[in-house]
Structures are given as C-alpha cells and as structure tokens.
C-alpha cells in the first residue's frame, strides 16, 4: 500500500504488527490489574482498567481511520479548524490515564490563533495517539526530573505556520530523521525507538502516518524551553482575517 504525500512510502503490515504489540501490552496490564484487584480488594483501581481500554481504543480508532482513508472509503475533507479546540479535546482524552502514569498533563492555552485549513478528526486522533505513546514512555525516560513529570500541550507561532505539539524534555531527544529511520524497522524490532520508549511506541508512528495524509509531519519542536514533537500547520491567508474568540 502506498500513501501519496510529500514522500511516497509503504504502509505495510509493519504498522499493524507494531500496533498489535501495543494492544498485547494493554491486554496484559488489564489482566494483571484484575489479579491485583482480586487480591487487594481495592475497587478504586478499576478505573485503571477503563483507562487502559480507552487508550487502546484510541489507537485502534487511529489505525482504522488510516486504513479507511487509504482505501478511499472515507474522504479527507479540509475545513477551518481551531487548533486550540483540537488540543482541548486531546487533553480531555488523555487526562484520565495521565494520572495512572504519574504524568501531569498541562494545557497551555495562552494566545489567540487564527483557524487553519485541516481535518479536525485526523488532528485529534493523531495528537491523542502521540500523547498516549509519550505518557507511557515518559516515566521511564525523565527519571532525573526532581518534580512530577510534566507533559505540555501547546500551540505557538513560527515563521512556517502554527505549531501544535506535545512537549516534555529539557533536551531534544527526537528528530524527524530518527523517527523515519525507526519506522523502517517496525517489523523487525519490538522496540523501534529505544531512546524514547521501552515498547513499540505505536501511537507515535500512527500519528505520523495519519498526519502524512494531510502532507503534515511530526517534527522536533521547542516551546518555552521544553522540547517535544509538534506539527506545523501552514496558515491559509483567507482564514487569517478571522479572529479566534
């Protein structure tokens, strides 16, 4: 299967195998959670099971949307989109499970930004998937932070357009080059991005491939002295006359 975009590349069953590993981990965690609840009789831990299921469903939804777009069963319609609204929904999707991983999710909604021409569902699903991967990975990555691990969701302007992303580290550890290289070993490796994640990091690769449908890509980005991954959405001059309320 090919995805048309800036760079034609294959989207084989590699991504599906990668996703299956993520699902496998989630199902294992759910099973273990049941054992622990039976043993400790701590009913409050039932929410963890719900959050694990929701996260897995988000990833599956991302993959399904991507397959439907590939097979033209679903048209990718472009519309004026408020990135702040997208990010607000993404944060809502992630906040219940952020607590399970000990991550403090911060939504930085300062600033007024004009709408962009994009697809709301694709942006929301992609950023949610990316957030899931980052939340799983950060507690095992940012061990030297003295305070609670924080994941910032933010938008800022750049000379190329609006940048919407998730930021977490004081040093840049990821780059588009590294992610592209890692994607080539999805089939062969259970840990394609070890400098970020102990696992398959499915959400990150799903997000990247989804964004490619709109000729967008995940790039290393910086916001308020925090590095992370962002998406540059170019402005549409006509919409820049519309003030965001």
């Amino acid at each position: 299967m090919k995805i048309a975009g800036n760079n034609d590349f294959d989207l084989p069953s590699d991504l599906f195998l990668n996703l299956l590993q993520n699902i496998q981990r989630s199902v294992l965690n759910i099973s273990n959670q049941v054992d622990v609840i039976k043993l400790t009789k701590n009913q409050s831990q039932l929410d963890v099971i719900k959050n694990l299921s929701q996260n897995t469903n988000h990833l599956i939804e991302n993959y399904s949307l991507m397959i439907n777009l590939l097979q033209d069963k679903q048209q990718l319609s472009l519309e004026p989109v408020s990135l702040a609204a997208v990010l607000y929904d993404v944060v809502n999707n992630l906040k219940s499970s952020a607590a399970d991983y000990g991550v403090n999710l911060v939504f930085n909604n300062e600033g007024k930004f004009f709408p962009v021409l994009s697809n709301y569902a694709v942006l929301e699903v992609s950023l949610t998937s990316l957030g899931i991967s980052l939340m799983e990975a950060l507690p095992a990555l940012l061990v030297n932070q003295p305070h609670q691990i924080e994941l910032f969701a933010a938008i800022h302007r750049s000379k190329y357009g609006l940048v919407v992303g998730l930021y977490f580290d004081e040093q840049p550890i990821l780059s588009r080059y590294l992610i592209n290289k890692s994607q080539k070993i999805l089939r062969k490796s259970k840990q394609p991005l070890p400098m970020l994640s102990y696992g398959p990091a499915s959400g990150l690769f799903l997000a990247k491939n989804m964004l490619n449908f709109m000729n967008l890509d995940l790039k290393s980005s910086k916001h308020n002295n925090r590095y992370g991954l962002g998406v540059i959405v170019p402005p549409i001059k006509q919409l820049s006359f519309v003030d965001e309320q």
Partner: protein, 137 residues
C-alpha cells in the same frame, strides 16, 4: 516459607505494570522497590540491597542486557540473583539465550505473556527455598 525478610528490586519501565507487580508482591509479604531504568537500578542496589532483582529486558535508553553486564562487573553485588520477567519470548534470542544463563548468570527467564504474577511468585519462592545462602543481606 516466610518471605517477609526478602527484598525485591523490580526494574520495570511500564509504571502501570510495575505498580501492579509491586502491589501483588507486597501482598505476598515481599518488600519491593520499583525503578524504571537500568541506571536507577544500579543506584538502588547500593541503597536498597535487594535479595533478588526482577528485571525487564526492554528498557528505555539502556537495556536490561546492559544492566546485567554492569551488575556482573561489580565484585560486591555480582552474585545477586536475577529473574528476567520480560515481554520478549525465549525464541527471539536463538543461540544468545545460552549467554544469558552462562555469562550473565540469569537464574530464571519468564515471559510475561506466558507467566502471570502467580507464576512469578512461585518462581521467587522456589528460588529462595532452594538457595537461602544467596541472600545479599
């Protein structure tokens, strides 16, 4: 067998999985400490002085294999028993699996997909029953 005096260091990057494992093993009267990286694991050995290490191979940045090489290079802690409890099936190692046992002195290798927390607890208790003299403290 009374397990209340046994200390377990758990090196597990998945915090949800790790917290569940700690809760389970604490309920079995083990004293557990959870760390998420190989680096923290080495530091915890000095502070916590565990009787056994439960190790996931797939860690961020530095793998469990690197941790094992580092562990076995220190004279004072190299004899600490290690049970590998990992997502990796034995089949992925091929001939390298022999190295895990012989050179890196892994005492037991359990795949998470085939062995639940009850199986792991049984292996831990079996080891301590058979090898009481291997306790560090």
């Amino acid at each position: 067998m009374s397990s209340s005096r046994f200390k377990l260091l758990i090196i597990e990057p998945d915090t949800v999985f790790g917290n569940n494992l700690v809760s389970f093993l604490n309920h079995q009267n083990f004293d557990c400490r959870l760390v998420t990286t190989a680096q923290k694991g080495i530091e915890a050995i000095d502070n916590f002085k565990p009787n056994m290490i439960i190790l996931e191979i797939q860690l961020s940045v530095h793998s469990g294999i690197e941790f094992l090489y580092e562990l076995r290079s220190y004279d004072d802690i190299k004899k600490c028993p290690v049970i590998v409890y990992t997502m990796l099936e034995k089949s992925v190692w091929g001939l390298g699996f022999v190295n895990l046992k012989l050179q890196l002195k892994v005492d037991q290798y359990l795949c998470k997909l085939d062995n639940d927390f009850f199986d792991l607890t049984d292996e831990i208790k079996k080891y301590f029953n058979d090898n009481l003299s291997h306790a560090i403290s």
